[in-house]
């Protein structure tokens, strides 16, 4: 059973128009750069993308937006993107905004076979419209449903050929739960290693969740907000 693919172009085969994709990352941190580039080149259209953010105009999912490949975005925060704003206001792009914690938990639930769960987040707001409400311990909660995707595309720091993944620092973010929730999960990694080279105690995503893996190239890892403090003299 070989999970290893030579590159992004091969790994994304099977993604077709109209599919739902989960795409890992928080802002531009931990995004699957190679796979996004391959999706842009593929020209696949009418995608529904579940991703915490929508990239910036010229990077990340912004590249797919520029190319009009996304029909619908499901996110918690979509600032920093003028093309996104234009498409949303003109009605070209559907947008479903979800509280960030509910987004993460709904992905985990999708991967974990929990079809729905109660959360207090969003009760009393427009997010709760049409959702079941139940009071626990005197406090109203709303029922949120699990999310799954035809393909989940995540980016890890290191991965082995069995699909085990580890992330570096906050590039972990949504990549972990999304890897669990893809019917097919594609992982691109900075370094692909042999089984046994990752410590079994410290695997972030066990290989069972990953169907395809490849070593990415030319990571730009763009920084959105470079903030520094002055060096002490």
């Amino acid at each position: 059973m070989n999970k290893v693919y030579p590159n992004a172009e091969e790994a994304i085969k099977g993604i077709v128009d109209g599919m739902t994709l989960m795409v890992g990352g928080f802002g531009l941190c931990g995004i699957p750069e190679n796979s996004i580039t391959a999706l842009v080149r593929s020209g696949i259209k009418k995608l529904t993308c579940i991703s915490n953010n929508a990239g910036v105009d010229d990077f990340g999912l912004g590249l797919l937006l520029q190319n009009r490949q996304i029909k619908k975005m499901i996110s918690s925060y979509v600032g920093e993107n003028e093309e996104f704003e234009r498409q949303m206001l003109s009605g070209e792009l559907e947008v479903d905004l979800i509280p960030q914690g509910s987004l993460a938990e709904r992905c985990r639930a999708g991967g974990a076979g929990i079809p729905a769960f109660y959360t207090p987040a969003g009760y009393g707001t427009e997010i709760a419209e049409g959702k079941e409400v139940k009071v626990f311990d005197g406090k109203p909660h709303i029922l949120e449903s699990a999310m799954k995707a035809d393909f989940a595309i995540v980016k890890a720091w290191k991965g082995d050929t069995l699909g085990n993944l580890v992330f570096k620092a906050t590039a972990r973010n949504f990549n972990e739960v999304m890897a669990m929730a893809g019917k097919i999960t594609i992982a691109e990694v900075e370094e692909l290693v042999e089984p046994g080279q990752l410590d079994p105690n410290y695997i972030h995503v066990p290989g069972i969740f990953v169907q395809r893996i490849f070593q990415g190239t030319h990571y730009e890892k763009r920084i959105e907000q470079k903030t520094l403090r002055p060096k002490p003299q």
């Binding site: 993460a104 009393g124 707001t125 906050t170 973010n173 949504f174 972990e176 907000q225 520094l228």
Partner: protein, 217 residues
């Protein structure tokens, strides 16, 4: 009257040793600069950090290490990294002792609106709805009036809500207030600000006790 730094300094006085704290974008972020000497407070960033440190020095920034505002940051010794579901497990599960965030409007019932203005571009609520729905201890940091001088402390919010009956305390450029029993209760005046000025800047029900001390910074 307080500037943004003053608001942050006043909020920092609310910190307690050993607390885990989530700071929103804007004024709340500044609170981290004024942790009282000798006090140990850990900052949580909802993208997956506990024990967030200051901004990096030039050349030390790491694209893989950012905060929830997408700014480059550092880790303190003893920090922990985790994924988004674990991060909101901490938040929803009430393991964070204090949440500080901004607001566009707050009502006298403790409702808060801070994510959406109809007719304008909506960027999303990010983690705000999870934070306000879960935290037992929320402080809102805000200017008490908008640019036209209209009060942002209202009988009822006019904007779409982020959460209901959740805000317990507000620190503005003019005052510190507590929300209870359907009213804003004035606790402290900002330096040089009169009760009358605060009253004019509060559209919701304001309860003023006999004596209102000036805050100490």
């Amino acid at each position: 009257m307080l500037d943004k730094t003053g608001i942050a300094k006043r909020i920092a006085q609310e910190l307690q040793d050993g607390w885990y704290v989530n700071l929103g974008i804007g004024i709340p972020t500044l609170v981290a600069n004024y942790v009282p000497e000798g006090m140990s407070v850990e900052f949580q960033s909802e993208n997956g950090i506990l024990g967030m440190g200051p901004f990096p020095f030039e050349g030390e920034e790491d694209a893989d290490l950012i905060n929830a505002g997408k700014q480059t940051v550092t880790l303190k010794s003893g920090a922990a990294i985790f994924d988004s579901s674990m991060s909101f497990a901490m938040i929803r599960g009430k393991h964070i002792q204090l949440t500080v965030l901004g607001a566009m409007e707050v009502s006298q019932d403790g409702d808060i609106a801070n994510w959406k203005v109809p007719g304008k571009m909506v960027k999303g609520m990010g983690g705000a709805m999870d934070l306000v729905a879960s935290a037992d201890n929320i402080i809102v940091a805000m200017m008490q009036t908008d640019k036209e001088g209209n009060s942002k402390l209202l009988p009822k919010c006019s904007l779409p809500l982020t959460g209901v009956k959740c805000v317990k305390k507000i620190v503005t450029n003019l005052a510190v207030m507590e929300i209870k029993d359907g009213a804003f209760h004035l606790l402290e005046r900002a330096p040089g600000v009169s009760v009358e000025e605060i009253r004019r800047a509060t559209a919701g029900l304001l309860v003023v006790p006999g004596e209102v001390p000036e805050m100490k910074l």
